[in-house]
């Protein structure tokens, strides 16, 4: 059959590529003949060849003696595919289409295999194919594809490089753990692959960040879905440990990615993963100097970095849904009717399960609250630059009264999530941290909450304290704010009833 013929051709290729270097003239001649003699003359031919070559490679992995070189066929296929990206004539169709077609065939074979074999499905050959494609591409792209002698082809490949990674990321998104749990651990290993993750983080103009953010939210989403307060499955805990190490490595190498996408990442982290949340929120741009947060003489307004708004890659305005207008109008001209509109827009139509500390369901749209909070913070920092500091560091300003209104009118649950959203912005020294530090302190000391004041204060203390009792790292903005509140003479915390009622907390506060 045609499939058997193409399998024979592929077998010849596997033998050839083990005896000769990939750049050898004979190798190039072999590929040229594959094209001329009709094996790869069109898309259908390629699909047939690719499908049978991949099935052959996966079977050869399954049948090989585990101690031998089990990946020879897979690696040969990878090398052939990377060569085809260079050598095929892309006048009729683009390299992007070719690569997408190739990954589509892989997806077909992969999902058939996983569907047929269920729990005896083995992810390793597919992992190896993706891993080797990344390695072979990396070997080719060194120094802007300097190995490619033909200048026109070299130029095309330089322009295609970004698409290669983004198309790769798009298909990785297809294989996300929630869709293919049988590929979950291979998927996390690919996401953090040394030839993929650093590349996606460093593509010019952050060209890989959108897709990469999507992949990280896929991972966090999977964990959020299957993390329960107590009976989290061991395998999910292993996923968590892997995610923790990967995010720590990102925080070390390119913290800016976490800094500028903290809002979207936090929208997908289960609230009980407090240390993971702290790692993301504690990230700071490489160039920002972090003063000692415990320095009693620290004065945020004097810190130069606190005059610069935090860079934001994922703009929360896209998540404001129908509330963008009411919120922006309120900031311009505050009114109680607008406040009511905003408040009513924050409640969910149905209960949502959530694994929180002390709660298991949410009635409010936490993502929307986070979006509004960050959006107002961004606008406040812009307003300060447009007019004056007094325009926003002022408890009569609409920027402040919006939060005060939500907290005054809102249920305890709403108070909690608004204060959590504010605490998420207390990060490294930047203009947003400076302003939210002002907001949360004035909410804490405000005497306009009347009988609700102790509730508000207790929620603020709980929100800040939960981020401090967590193992390091601790967010600079959180520590500075908490030291402010602890240090203030106006109200010694330990005397507050809600602290005296809980001896464990009272002890911690006294120690602190």
């Amino acid at each position: 059959t045609k499939a058997e013929k193409t399998a024979l051709v592929f077998t010849e290729w596997v033998k050839l590529i083990q005896r000769l270097d990939g750049d050898d003239e004979t190798v190039l001649e072999f590929i040229r003949q594959m094209i001329e003699k009709g094996v790869l003359q069109d898309s259908n031919g390629f699909i047939c060849f690719m499908k049978s070559a991949l099935e052959l490679s996966v079977n050869s992995f399954k049948e090989s003696d585990p101690t031998s070189e089990v990946f020879i066929a897979i690696d040969s296929l990878s090398k052939l595919l990377i060569k085809l990206i260079c050598l095929l004539d892309f006048k009729q169709s683009s390299r992007e289409e070719f690569l997408s077609l190739m990954f589509s065939v892989v997806t077909l074979v992969f999902s058939e295999d996983q569907g047929r074999n269920d729990t005896s499905f083995n992810e390793r050959p597919y992992f190896r194919l993706f891993s080797s494609l990344l390695c072979d591409w990396e070997a080719l792209r060194g120094h802007k594809f300097v190995k490619i002698k033909d200048p026109a082809c070299r130029k095309e490949l330089v322009n295609f490089d970004e698409s290669f990674y983004n198309i790769f990321a798009s298909f990785l998104h297809v294989y996300q753990p929630i869709a293919f749990p049988g590929f979950a651990f291979a998927w996390i290993t690919l996401l953090s692959h040394r030839m993929f993750l650093p590349r996606m983080l460093r593509l010019p103009n952050k060209a890989g960040w959108s897709k990469l953010l999507l992949l990280f939210t896929d991972l966090l989403n999977f964990m959020a879905h299957y993390t329960k307060r107590t009976e989290t499955h061991d395998a999910v805990t292993v996923v968590y440990k892997g995610a923790l190490r990967v995010i720590l490595a990102v925080s070390n190498d390119v913290p800016e990615f976490l800094v500028e996408n903290h809002y979207e990442l936090l929208n997908n982290i289960p609230p009980i993963y407090m240390q993971l949340r702290n790692i993301i929120l504690s990230s700071a741009p490489t160039k920002v100097v972090i003063p000692d947060p415990y320095d009693p003489n620290i004065e945020l307004h004097d810190i130069e970095a606190c005059q610069v708004p935090a860079a934001i890659f994922y703009d929360p305005v896209q998540d404001l849904k129908g509330l963008k207008k009411p919120v922006d109008n309120y900031l311009r001209i505050p009114s109680s009717s607008l406040m009511r509109t905003i408040l009513s827009g924050l409640f969910r139509t149905e209960l949502e399960l959530d694994t929180g500390i002390g709660y298991e369901t949410t009635n409010v749209d936490v993502k929307l609250i986070n979006a509004i909070t960050l959006h107002v913070g961004i606008e406040a920092a812009l307003e300060k630059d447009r007019t004056s500091a007094n325009a926003i560091f002022n408890t009569k300003s609409s920027y402040f009264t919006l939060f005060k209104g939500l907290i005054t009118e809102g249920s305890t649950e709403l108070k909690f999530h608004v204060i959590q959203a504010i605490a998420n912005q207390l990060r490294y020294p930047n203009a947003h941290t400076l302003w939210f530090n002002y907001v949360i302190k004035n909410l804490f000391y405000s005497d306009e909450f009347e009988e609700q004041q102790h509730d508000v204060q207790e929620i603020i203390i709980r929100t800040v304290l939960e981020r401090i009792i967590t193992n390091k790292p601790h967010c600079w903005g959180i520590v500075v704010t908490f030291v402010d509140i602890l240090k203030s003479d106006s109200s010694s915390l330990a005397d507050l009833s809600f602290i005296k009622d809980v001896p464990e907390i009272e002890l911690i506060i006294k120690n602190l």
């Binding site: 290993t189 892997g242 509730d455 009792i469 390091k472």
Partner: protein, 187 residues
């Protein structure tokens, strides 16, 4: 939503609520950072993702080859190893064996330690022996007699005491040592 909710995090099992502390308040990250090669004390940021082996320590069983680039000028160098105007080719063991004899000691040591379990390791072993180096099986280092001093053979003829030159692969240099050499320990 208040402070009472934090008590089970501070004291296990309080209020009948149980959390997995390792994922809520988390763990001391210093060992994780160390396993990643991140030195949390120094501000020097090394790039750990470029040599990231695996998300889990348990599956990080070996170093992985990082991205690297070999400029053309490093390959195909003519007039070396008696190759004449053509660059030397390494594609047959018989011919290549002769070339191995042209390498300096350090090059041989490098090939021996860098490419375990390969033909070149065997060839460098043979060549070093020809140059009166001997491989110490337990110390796993190469040594040769210090030409300036004759060793003293022991009564039982199974060993000798003398001054030897060792090649130290950690510090990558030759160093002289007085040593009792058991003939059974070298090959």
């Amino acid at each position: 939503y208040g402070l009472r909710a934090l008590v089970p995090l501070i004291r296990r099992g309080e209020m009948g609520v149980e959390y997995d502390h390792s994922t809520t308040i988390g763990i001391d990250l210093s060992s994780v950072l160390h396993s990643l090669g991140i030195d949390s004390e120094s501000n020097r940021r090394s790039r750990v993702l470029d040599t990231f082996q695996s998300p889990w320590v348990e599956t990080s069983r070996c170093e992985v080859e990082p991205r690297f680039f070999v400029p053309d000028s490093f390959c195909n160098i003519p007039n070396v190893l008696q190759s004449g105007p053509q660059p030397p080719t390494f594609n047959s063991v018989q011919q290549d064996h002769a070339k191995v004899a042209l390498f300096q000691d350090e090059a041989l040591f490098y090939l021996f330690y860098k490419h375990p379990g390969t033909v070149i390791q065997e060839l460098t072993y043979l060549e070093l022996r020809k140059r009166n180096w001997r491989y110490h099986k337990t110390l796993k280092v190469w040594l040769t007699k210090d030409p300036l001093m004759e060793p003293i053979v022991a009564q039982d003829g199974a060993s000798e005491r003398g001054s030897y030159v060792f090649f130290d692969p950690q510090r990558w240099e030759k160093c002289q040592r007085d040593f009792v050499l058991f003939y059974s320990a070298i090959m």
